[in-house]
């Protein structure tokens, strides 16, 4: 068989994985920025609990995360039913649900990286911006955010890589439907379960390795460029 000739099913899984990971990661960015900023800069009651909640998907068995998503966002779940009746959005057993699972699983990594960069951003530069007339929002947009950009990129890439590899929560929440929720990991798993699927599994595994590695290299190059621009 040809190593570089992917079957339509394989292409489907690759494309779907990229879409799920991209949408899931980008959609979680606003919430990730907010959570990271709150953890880095604000003092509020219940902060430790909030911190724990954000990190929960990192330590919880993915199957449990998927199960919780199913309970909450399933068609009969409290949030799922609301989304369905109000906006006509259905997540369970759809690729959008896979994106949600990917977003939740990648969230702790995203927040960790961004939080560190918010903590490292020079407060004295923010003060300088305030004395020059910038209000809180402008300080954040024109100083804090650009200074934190390398960390934000690093967080996005980590979360993206995590999303590409997400298996347990995805298969529990949205199952393993070809063309809808069968992402790379579930496709690989499926191929290992059928006779004669070993070669397909190996090829897709190679694709997963290449994609993950590429993501890491791109992020490293980008953050180096930004770091060189910003300087020490």
């Amino acid at each position: 068989m040809d190593w570089f000739h992917f079957s339509p099913d394989e292409w489907e899984a690759i494309r779907l994985s990229l879409r799920v990971a991209t949408v899931g990661t980008l959609a979680s960015l606003p919430a990730g920025l907010l959570a990271a900023y709150a953890l880095a800069r604000w003092r509020f009651p219940g902060k430790i609990l909030f911190d724990g909640l954000v990190h929960l998907p990192l330590v919880l068995p993915p199957v449990v995360t998927g199960y919780l998503l199913l309970i909450l966002f399933g068609r009969r779940g409290p949030i799922g039913a609301f989304l369905d009746s109000t906006f006509g959005i259905v997540l369970s057993f759809r690729w959008t649900g896979a994106a949600l699972a990917a977003a939740v699983m990648g969230f702790p990594l995203l927040v960790r990286a961004i939080r560190l960069s918010f903590e490292a951003a020079d407060r004295r530069l923010e003060d300088a911006a305030r004395t020059l007339g910038a209000n809180g929002l402008l300080v954040f947009l024109t100083v804090t955010l650009p200074l934190a950009l390398p960390g934000i990129l690093a967080g996005l890439v980590l979360a993206f890589a995590k999303a590409l590899g997400e298996f347990g929560a995805t298969i529990t929440f949205v199952s393993n439907i070809p063309g809808e929720t069968r992402t790379l990991p579930t496709a690989i798993y499926t191929y290992t379960q059928v006779p004669g699927g070993d070669a397909n599994a190996a090829r897709l595994a190679a694709v997963a390795i290449v994609l993950s590695l590429a993501a890491l290299v791109v992020s490293e190059l980008l953050s180096r460029r930004i770091a060189a621009r910003i300087g020490g």
């Binding site: 004395t131 910038a134 024109t142 650009p146």
Partner: protein, 216 residues
């Protein structure tokens, strides 16, 4: 021009200072740790006194008695910090027009300031590629362009060697002549103060030791 009464406890240090000055340029003089920077921060709004009253020019910025506390970004008191604090992710030109961009059209004329401070060749460079003296000149320009109501210069020459100081002092003298706004100049170097200031406020241990007029 400056009417300042501040009391603030900062750990073991008690700042309890009071001075008034009508000179165009007021110098805050004293050894390090005397509370000079704390006073600058209080006037800029970056430090909130426990008690006190701060008025600059016609504006009342802070009064603990009636709860007046104008937010930092609305005080129009521009600060040149000891360590420049240029934005590393912006070019020199972008740094210069940062405050003017926020102030809208009210800010100063870029070409004029660039000429005054000799910044013509630096505009497209990044702050980290500048020398200490160049950085301070950009920081001064950035403050001037931001439509200042008053200017606070917090030891702008302290981090520079003698040659750089001699490079910047003429610019500062030109600036003092041209600015027509109240200037507070912080320094622990007697020579700079005598060249620039009309009134010298001497601080020590958080208290004002003396206020003297310099005759010219």
């Amino acid at each position: 021009m400056f009417d300042v009464t501040v009391r603030k406890i900062l750990g073991d240090f008690v700042l309890d200072a009071r001075f008034r000055s009508e000179a165009a340029v007021t110098a805050l003089f004293g050894p390090s740790g005397a509370g000079k920077t704390s006073i600058v921060n209080a006037i800029a709004g970056l430090l909130t006194p426990e008690r006190g009253r701060i008025a600059v020019g016609e504006s009342l910025l802070f009064n603990s008695e009636n709860g007046t506390d104008i937010p930092v970004h609305r005080r129009r008191v521009r600060v040149v910090f000891q360590e420049s604090r240029l934005f590393p992710h912006l070019s020199v030109r972008q740094n210069l027009v940062y405050g003017r961009w926020i102030a809208g059209r009210a800010g100063g004329n870029l070409d004029e300031i660039v000429r005054l401070l000799g910044l013509e060749d630096l505009l497209s460079r990044r702050p980290r590629s500048l020398s200490g003296g160049e950085r301070q000149r950009v920081a001064i320009g950035r403050a001037l362009l931001a439509d200042p109501m008053a200017l606070l210069l917090d030891e702008p020459l302290a981090s520079l060697d003698e040659a750089r100081k001699r490079e910047i002092l003429p610019y500062l003298e030109k600036l003092v002549g041209a600015a027509r706004i109240p200037i507070l100049y912080v320094s622990h170097a007697r020579e700079e103060i005598e060249r620039l200031a009309g009134t010298v406020v001497t601080l020590d241990g958080g208290r004002v030791k003396s206020v003297e007029e310099i005759k010219r």
